[in-house]
């Protein structure tokens, strides 16, 4: 039985009239490593998602013909069977990471299928894919290549016989790509059928057993690598490795740091340096260069492995990082790594017109700019469509067109070509060329640098290590493992707390007790005691400085806000004016009352801080599951929390992109400002929708079932001390709460028991 079989298979999207894929008849055998390639938009991703059963479950369109994995319809497999039978990996590893640590990531599908001996299998799988051995290593601390290997290892962990990968090399440098392909070869040799969708033929062809070429939703060629039709690929805008005229040319790179071109006649557009930047809590500088000069007409390619500092340099030049002096003589525009984040208008026409309008040009001039930019990037036919509803290649071209419509003097591009076919990339790069403009672009594609750069700079560990004018071959490959070590995600800091100590359930229960007491207590002395008790754990765990700052700010805001509000609104008599400002009076008694009341909020804040500082999120979620929070809900919120840094970063990128193409957001009317703020959500939300789909695909392929109980990797037990503390806290809290309730009933004239008079008095005097 074939591992994967298509019979007249196809798929029509709900919004499409014609099938995106049709008439596919194909069988993939176990042990085969198959490359599926073709131009952008030809249907490769659709076909592979059809094979994974994802479109059948979530697509909402029509599945044509039949698809079978090991003789079964993949769309009808149970979650556990999906994890056992097939693995699916998409283009962006960051969007497929489901958990916080490498061990949990591998264990996820194993837990889904209820596999025994999870710990040993996790270790085995990590070793097989050449990943760091510690199970508790944060997934966010891995390099791009390591992340891609991790999600692949996770997809395979439950013993799937079929592995489907959608452009797994798109985000990887050449060394990383080669390393992953070597792993996939090993997986196939172990008897697994592997299908890889990819544009990067040079990295894949030498290792695959079979090549499938798609065009227009159909498979147009099926051959061995040696028999691939170069002419066909050429017609489709692709090139076979070794057929490029520039292939044998070389870029004679010299060792050292060359900050400036040798052509000194051209006008200087940008001067920067020295530039130095270190991400928070990183061990070394992400960027440390003496300087960089860009001249008009220059096209500078930045090469280097993942984590070598290319994105940081572009960020510094674009003003994202305060790394040093940057002087520009002209308009600087940058296109983020994800060009979708630069698209924030309702239609392509508005997107292209935005920059010109912001420059206060007349209607005719604006239309002229729009037309020229659209023509240069071949998006004339898309002007009335929503940018985010376009294909990825189209969105990239719209983003570039929007930049061109602003007529920038300096353009900064951060790997904008990933996942694009040759034809689209060529059109885009040609459109960006101008004698009056400087272009700096970061890329892994050395051939692209050869074709379109006038100067190449190679980076390593934040420094320029080689430079040269473009004439020939690319520089030698870089060690991927070293890159991985230096590529911690900027700005992210995995929270890892030692296991042990109080069980998180006890900590949560104590926090809830504090919350109850904050409601029950009313006296300054008792609330102050509570606040001191809550501050005590913070002294034990040691508060990091940034938490101290945040907590301090929060406390200050709470205290002041409460004091001011109660000072203004205090309604009891007597009250003595403290400050009079027209009709507003701040009452002395209210200020004192506000101080007392703020202790209530301070207590809960301190207790909350103590909890989150001393307990890692995965332990908290583990505790929540044991406290009967539905698994699906707890898992989704943990996953959502992990995407916060990325989402926040996206939001900042959008803000910056918008600000660069227009006036300052603050220099507007409040309504216009608010409208723009909401509009800026558009690209972030659009990206989030795509991320949601990627996450759903990853979850589906790893057997996620929101209701089925899972095996537990992190068993925990409440010790005697924990029970003692918990019992004491619960008894004290319950007693005080009962006293308060009886007192409230008495105050509300509902219930008065003469025997409880001492209790009433005690509650009033002490609580």
């Amino acid at each position: 039985m074939s591992a994967l079989t298509f019979q007249g298979a196809g798929y029509r999207y709900p919004s499409g009239e014609e099938p995106a894929v049709q008439g596919v008849d194909l069988a993939v055998e176990s042990g085969q490593l198959v490359l599926l390639t073709g131009p952008t938009g030809c249907g490769k991703s659709t076909l592979i998602r059809l094979a994974a059963g994802l479109l059948g479950r979530h697509g909402g369109g029509d599945v044509l013909g039949s698809v079978e994995v090991q003789g079964e319809d993949p769309a009808r497999l149970t979650p556990a069977d999906r994890a056992r039978q097939l693995g699916f990996v998409s283009q962006t590893p960051d969007r497929q990471l489901l958990t916080a640590t490498t061990g949990d990531e591998i264990a996820f599908p194993l837990e889904s299928v209820g596999a025994p001996g999870i710990a040993s299998r996790v270790t085995q799988q990590l070793a097989q894919f050449g990943l760091p051995g510690e199970h508790t290593r944060s997934t966010q601390a891995l390099s791009g290549g390591q992340k891609q290997r991790l999600v692949t290892a996770s997809a395979m962990a439950a013993g799937a016989g079929l592995l489907l990968l959608d452009e797994p090399l798109a985000q990887l440098d050449p060394a990383g790509a080669a390393a992953l392909m070597a792993r996939l070869r090993g997986v196939a040799d172990a008897g697994v059928a592997v299908v890889v969708v990819e544009h990067r033929l040079s990295a894949t062809l030498p290792l695959v057993d079979r090549v499938l070429v798609m065009d227009g939703g159909r498979i147009v060629a099926d051959s061995s690598p040696a028999q691939v039709d170069a002419e066909l690929l050429g017609r489709l805008g692709m090139r076979l490795p070794g057929t490029s005229p520039e292939r044998n040319a070389s870029v004679p790179l010299e060792e050292g740091d060359a900050r400036e071109s040798s052509d000194e006649e051209r006008r200087v557009l940008l001067e920067a340096g020295p530039l130095r930047h270190r991400y928070r809590e990183a061990d070394q500088d992400a960027l440390d260069i003496a300087g960089l000069t860009l001249r008009a007409g220059e096209r500078v390619a930045l090469l280097g492995a993942n984590g070598s500092g290319k994105s940081t340099l572009i960020g510094a030049l674009a003003g994202e990082h305060d790394a040093g002096a940057v002087q520009s003589r002209g308009r600087v525009l940058d296109l983020p790594q994800d060009p979708d984040l630069a698209l924030f208008s309702a239609t392509v026409r508005e997107e292209l017109a935005h920059g010109a309008k912001e420059q206060r040009l007349g209607d005719r001039a604006v239309q002229g700019r729009v037309a020229a930019a659209a023509a240069a990037t071949s998006v004339q036919d898309l002007l009335d469509r929503s940018p985010h509803a376009l294909s990825r290649g189209q969105r990239l071209r719209v983003a570039v067109a929007a930049m061109l419509a602003c007529e920038p003097d300096i353009v900064l591009l951060d790997e904008p070509t990933s996942g694009q076919d040759h034809g689209h990339v060529e059109r885009m790069m040609l459109a960006l060329r101008s004698e009056e403009r400087a272009l700096l672009f970061a890329t892994h594609d050395e051939a692209l640098a050869q074709r379109h750069a006038t100067r190449v700079l190679r980076m390593e560990a934040g420094r320029f290590v080689a430079h040269g004018e473009v004439r020939g071959d690319a520089a030698p490959a870089h060690d991927e493992a070293a890159a991985g070590a230096a590529s911690a995600i900027p700005g992210s800091m995995p929270r890892s707390a030692p296991r042990g100590g109080l069980d998180p359930r006890v900590r949560i229960a104590l926090l809830i007790c504090v919350g109850v007491l904050a409601v029950v207590l009313s006296r300054a002395s008792s609330l102050a005691t509570l606040a001191l008790l809550c501050a005590f754990p913070l002294l034990l765990v040691g508060v990091p400085r940034r938490w101290l700052l945040r907590g301090g700010l929060g406390l200050l805001a709470i205290v002041w806000s409460t004091v001011l509000s109660q000072g203004l609104f205090y309604a009891e008599l007597p009250r003595v004016p403290l400050v009079r400002a027209g009709p507003l009076v701040i009452w002395t008694e209210g200020v004192l009352w506000g101080l007392v009341q703020s202790l209530r909020f301070v207590s809960t804040l301190l207790a909350g801080l103590a909890l989150v500082i001393s307990t890692s999120p995965d332990r908290l979620y583990s505790a929540l599951l044991r406290l009967r929070i539905p698994y699906g809900l707890a898992f989704l919120s943990s996953m959502a929390l992990r995407t916060v840094p990325e989402t926040a970063r996206s939001a900042l990128i959008v803000r910056r992109a918008r600000a660069r193409r227009g006036r300052s957001l603050w220099a507007r009317s409040p309504w216009a400002w608010l409208r723009l703020e909401v509009e800026m959500l558009r690209p972030v939300v659009a990206e989030s929708l795509r991320r949601a789909r990627s996450l759903a695909e990853a979850l589906d392929s790893r057997g996620f079932d929101p209701l089925v109980p899972r095996t537990e990797r992190h068993p925990s037990r409440i010790g005697v001390g924990g029970w003692g503390l918990l019992g004491t806290a619960v008894v004290v809290t319950a007693t005080l709460a009962a006293g308060r309730i009886l007192f409230v009933l008495y105050s509300a004239e509902v219930l008065y028991l003469p025997a409880l008079r001492p209790l009433y008095g005690w509650v009033r005097a002490w609580l």
């Binding site: 979530h58 309702a346 929503s386 509803a389 926090l511 809830i512 919350g515 700010l553 929060g554 200050l556 709470i558 806000s561 004091v563 001011l564 509000s565 609104f569 309604a571 008599l573 007597p574 209210g590 009352w593 009341q597 909350g608 801080l609 909890l611 989150v612 999120p617 908290l620 699906g632 809900l633 707890a634 989704l636 919120s637 996953m639 929390l641 995407t643 916060v644 989402t647 703020e677 909401v678 509009e679 959500l681 558009r682 659009a686 989030s688 929708l689 795509r690 991320r691 949601a692 789909r693 996450l695 759903a696 929101p706 209701l707 105050s747 004239e749 509902v750 219930l751 003469p754 025997a755």
Partner: protein, 582 residues
Amino acid sequence: MLRALTIACVLALGGCAQPAAPAVECDDVGVRVVSVEPVERVEVWSDGDRLARRSFPGDSTEARLALPLPASEVEVRVWTGERHTLRCTRPADEPLVDVQLAAPAGQTLAPFPETGRVQFVAFEGADASYAVVLTAREPSAVTLRLGGERLRVDMTAPGQREVITRPLPSDRATEVVVEGPRAVRKATLTPWTVGAGQVGETLALTDLVFPTDAAGFVDVARPEGRVTLPGLGWTRLLAWAGLGTRGQDRELPWGWHAVTLRNAGEKPLDVAVASRVLEGDEPAEAFRPVVRDEDGGTGLVTALLRIPAGGEATAVVPLFVTAAVLPEGASEFTHELTVTPLGLSKPVLTRTQPLRVSRGSSWVAVGFALALMAACLGVGSALIGVPRWLRTWSTTDLTTIAVFATLGFVITAFTAVLSSGLAAVLGPFSMLVTGLLSDCLRSALLATLIVLLPRRGTATVFLLLGWLMGGVALGAFSPTDFVFVGSRIFWLELFLWIAGLTRGGAWRDGSPVSRFVRLAGGFAGASLLSMAGSLASQIVLFRLYYAAWFVLLMLALPGFLYDVLACLLATSFAASLREVQS
């Protein structure tokens, strides 16, 4: 006395076993009840007629009813949590007429002494009088000799009461003789003459405590110097239902003033301690002892007190409150206390002080009750719905809600940082500024999510995920979340359903105006009620004060207008994202 001691011993012995029934004693004065449990009410019945009834506030275990008892056996009904029916008979050899004496008149009536001297304080130049009170047990005739006057009084029916008042000379003794059918009693009323100005110097008010219990002990359960009442609506509800402590007996005083007076003189003083509450210069209607209707419109409540020479005595003066006529919120009245020696027509001591009344708000009570009810329904619906939704929704839908929750969390965190700074300047008003950003963006985001996934439960899962994220990332788990998150879930789901937003997706293809109206109706309505409930909950749970104008401002802007704006913005925004989704 011996009998009382016996009763006490019996009760003490009985206390070792199960609670004993009260003991009752009939004597010349009336009925005396001694009980282990506090006595709540006593009624005296004879031949099917109720002779007397009295409620006893506080937790006194001894009660006395002064009344002339018939010669036959009476039935005494005693309430001490449960009802006891007891019987007793007045001693047979009692005189046919009870005689009591008040000297000077106005002083507490005391049994006429068998024989001897009764000393009293008289003031120079002041008119005083004394009173002899006759109460018939059986029909008979009594002859009185009052100074030089002889007087015959015919008592024709049991219970007949006669009060004979005569001037009391301050410069000589007065002899009073009562000749009844069974006994002759004689007393000499001897004055201690005191100068009227002298008494003001020797009398001092040493302590005034409010509120106290009926025995004059501090009421530890209530704030000092203040009348605290629940909201008007709540009071009325309790009264209507006959529930609660005051709803059951509206004649009870709200509390008592304990007035301690010192007498530095060498002779004991009889004084009237009068208390009233004024609103301006007039007696405050809310504090008149209306149940007795004895104040003649003066609002005065009076207690009589004898202060021993060189000693102190405490009068306990009740404060009656007619809660129904007091306004909500804070109000202030004047409490006036006067001390008038009996025999003088003008007070020698006057003390005025503010009497503050704090009254809860009915609106707040209603708001909190609604929030609590909504929270129960919201949490209940989530408990029932979430497992079903998790089971039936696609993973893509779940992850879509999760990433929207991420966006909401980012917006919340961003605006929290922003509001920290703004709050340092604007205090509570910072919400009006930051709300324009955070509320608008979050509502626009949620509105967009509803456009993308128009079904019941989307908002619930979104809110629950946001709550869990906040708890895990910021430690923001609190029991009060039950009210705040639960009620938000309920109102949102309810209004979205009413507006038709979660009853299918056909509305998404309507005109922009109809989409906006539906979105605004759903979101602004839910937001308004959530905000009102949230403010009421903060007032109740955290004992915070908010001015009415501030509450209205919060309801109008973050509670309503910002959501309308958000929906206005989200209408076109969400439509374009539908294309992305498809």
